[in-house]
Amino acid sequence: MITPLLLLQDAAVERAPEMTTGSWIFMFSAWVFVATLLVWSFKRVLSEPGEAPETDIAGPPGG
């Protein structure tokens, strides 16, 4: 049975979390790590020669 969410609004104040200094540090560390990895890797990828990869097969299997 799904409880209509609007009915929960009044009871929703309990256990409301609040961002602490520790939370901010944890979140930004994770975000900076992920964003840095993204920017660094794409920068490297785009700086490499952009030729289209080609399929290269040693020989037909089987037969």
Partner: protein, 567 residues
């Protein structure tokens, strides 16, 4: 079944560009798991503690496995293999390897059977949002809740009452209609091939997805506070360091989250498998279309980083903080208690409370934000379902010799046949998701890592991954790949075997962990449906094992000692 000329290797497909490859690979990884599964898993499995286990799993399991799969795939492609049966056989002399590899064709197909169905809900809801139907439901005067509406949507097949006409039939069969449209779009793209189909969709879809997600995140973070709660405070659900003790303190974990510490670690590892699409065979197939000298170290890392950005930064900042702002912690927990409630029940209500572009909160804001949200989910879904379909497509083309269009028809036929019980019977979707989309990923990854790092050998495997690399992978990863990753995987399987295997296999517990009451008819109906799902999966696996056997008889597979060039 027609045969093909195996002596024409240049018929194998290839990527059009490196950027296209990265976007297709990222599209494979970025899917419904990033925006739906991740928030649910985090809320239900340790919250702040989950995130620590998540990042550790990413480093110890996700990234090493990703590099291994790229390596196995590119090496397989070099010998003309696009799927796991040939790839596995090329790594060892043991003849059984190709049959184990059949899992790398069956599992993604099993996943895509239900994945396309869920993907079709997002398309259906995007259309319902754009046409105002969803907005009308969220109106305060509406007699129907978004939960009822979702249940009606899913149950909207087979409710015929006399002649309905085409429009009437579609109206009463929404779930079926949108599934048919979604499946047809998938098959059409697949039938166009790699560079003209999948790659084009990825090149258009991924930027669209990023723009939509960033726009929604910006809206969520700028929403005014409600009753003293802000969306930013909702972020604390993921980032609370005070919950870290639950990672090792079992009693603390149980008192805070109702689950033990081990469950937090297992859930985080499971999410890493699902989100990176490792263990499904899809990465192997995509990377098989690379050249022998193409980089995989940097390219693989780029796709992982894009996936993590979409999951941790974007996916984590959307649904949960928005739900928290309007409905508080109770609302978040209620929404996350069902696997799809957050996306399809809570978010429409969030949009009904959030104005946008000067438009007051209400039906119009649901139309705008709902279309963007469900459209974003659809794009995320289709890029993943295409990747999950490609191993079977490639197997049918390269191993069984079908043309691309015939292969698409076979894949479509299997999906259409097997999706019927998924749509019509309770519990079938969950059962397939458990065995193929959860347990199967870990099992297949274990097979891969043992085969690649231990049997093929860590020295050769490391050399293979580094061949043509644009970056030097830190040496610590060789140690992780050789010892830590396989030991962790085997440990996870052993833990499952000891604690879960028997009750689940004997139907004492559901795959969701609920105790089955043999006196409850509803429970026994679920057991029947789960049993049917297991037979379906076994039948499909047996079918592909037979196909592999036929292909082997035709001389399609060469084992390690017979390959001219040992990478």
């Amino acid at each position: 079944m027609s045969t093909t000329d195996y002596s024409a290797p240049d018929e194998r497909e290839q990527w059009g560009s490196r950027v296209g490859l990265i976007l297709a690979m990222a599209g494979n990884a970025v899917g419904l798991g990033n925006f739906l599964r991740f928030p649910n898993e985090a809320v239900n499995n340790g919250q702040g503690a989950f995130m620590v286990a998540y990042f550790i799993s990413l480093l110890l399991l996700g990234i090493p496995l990703m590099w291994m799969e790229w390596g196995i795939g590119r090496r397989g492609g070099h010998f003309g293999y696009s799927t796991a049966p040939g790839m596995f056989q090329s790594l060892t002399k043991a003849r059984i390897a190709k049959y184990i590899g059949a899992l790398g064709v069956v599992m993604p197909l099993l996943i895509v059977i239900y994945y396309v169905y869920i993907e079709s809900w997002t398309l259906g809801y995007a259309v319902e949002s754009a046409t105002g139907a969803l907005g009308a439901v969220t109106d305060k005067a509406s007699q129907v809740s978004t939960g009822d509406y979702f249940e009606t949507y899913l149950g909207s097949q087979g409710n015929d009452s006399g002649f309905l006409g085409v429009a009437g039939w579609i109206g009463s069969h929404k779930a079926y209609t949108f599934f048919a449209i979604t499946a047809a779009v998938n098959l059409w793209v697949l039938s166009r091939g790699l560079s003209k189909g999948i790659e084009i969709i990825a090149k258009i879809g991924m930027p669209v997805l990023l723009v939509c997600a960033i726009a929604l995140v910006a809206r969520v973070l700028t929403l005014p506070a409600e009753e003293g709660r802000s969306a930013l405070d909702g972020l604390n659900i993921y980032w609370n360091p005070e919950q870290w003790t639950a990672l090792y303190d079992d009693a603390q974990a149980k008192s805070l989250f109702g689950i033990g510490s081990a469950a937090i670690w297992l859930a985080a590892a499971g999410q890493i498998f699902f989100t990176l699409s490792v263990g499904s065979g899809a990465i192997n197939t995509y990377s098989s279309y690379l050249s022998r000298d193409d980089d995989i170290a940097l390219t693989g890392l780029a796709t992982v980083s894009m996936n993590e950005f979409c999951e941790v930064v974007l996916g984590g900042t959307l649904a949960i903080p928005a739900a928290f702002l309007f409905f508080g912690m109770s609302g978040v927990e209620e929404a996350a208690s069902g696997s799809m409630g957050l996306a399809f029940i809570t978010m429409p209500e969030v949009f009904a409370n959030a104005g946008v572009f000067g438009i007051a909160a209400g039906e119009y804001s649901v139309a705008i934000l709902g279309t963007v949200w469900f459209g974003l989910l659809f794009v995320a879904g289709i890029t993943s379902s295409l990747a999950l379909s490609q191993p079977t497509m490639a197997f049918m083309q390269d191993t069984m010799g079908l043309t691309r269009k015939k292969a698409a028809l076979v894949v479509g036929g299997i999906i259409l046949l097997f999706v019927q019980p998924v749509i019509l019977l309770d519990g079938v979707l969950g059962e397939i998701d458990y065995w193929a989309g959860t347990f199967g990923l870990v099992f297949f990854s274990t097979m891969e890592v043992v085969l690649f790092m231990w049997i093929f050998g860590s020295k050769r495997a490391w050399k293979e991954i580094h061949h043509g690399a644009d970056i030097a992978i830190p040496k610590i990863f060789k140690f992780l790949m050789t010892f830590v990753t396989p030991v962790l995987l085997i440990g996870m399987l052993a833990f499952w075997g000891i604690t879960q295997a028997l009750p689940i296999l004997s139907f004492e517990k559901t795959t969701g962990g609920d105790i089955i009451d043999p006196n409850d008819p509803a429970h026994m109906a679920l057991v029947d449906n789960a049993g049917l799902a297991r037979w379906m999966m076994l039948a499909l696996f047996a079918f592909f094992v037979v196909l592999v056997w036929i292909a082997a008889k035709r001389g399609r597979f060469k084992s390690l000692e017979n390959l001219a060039e040992d990478a």
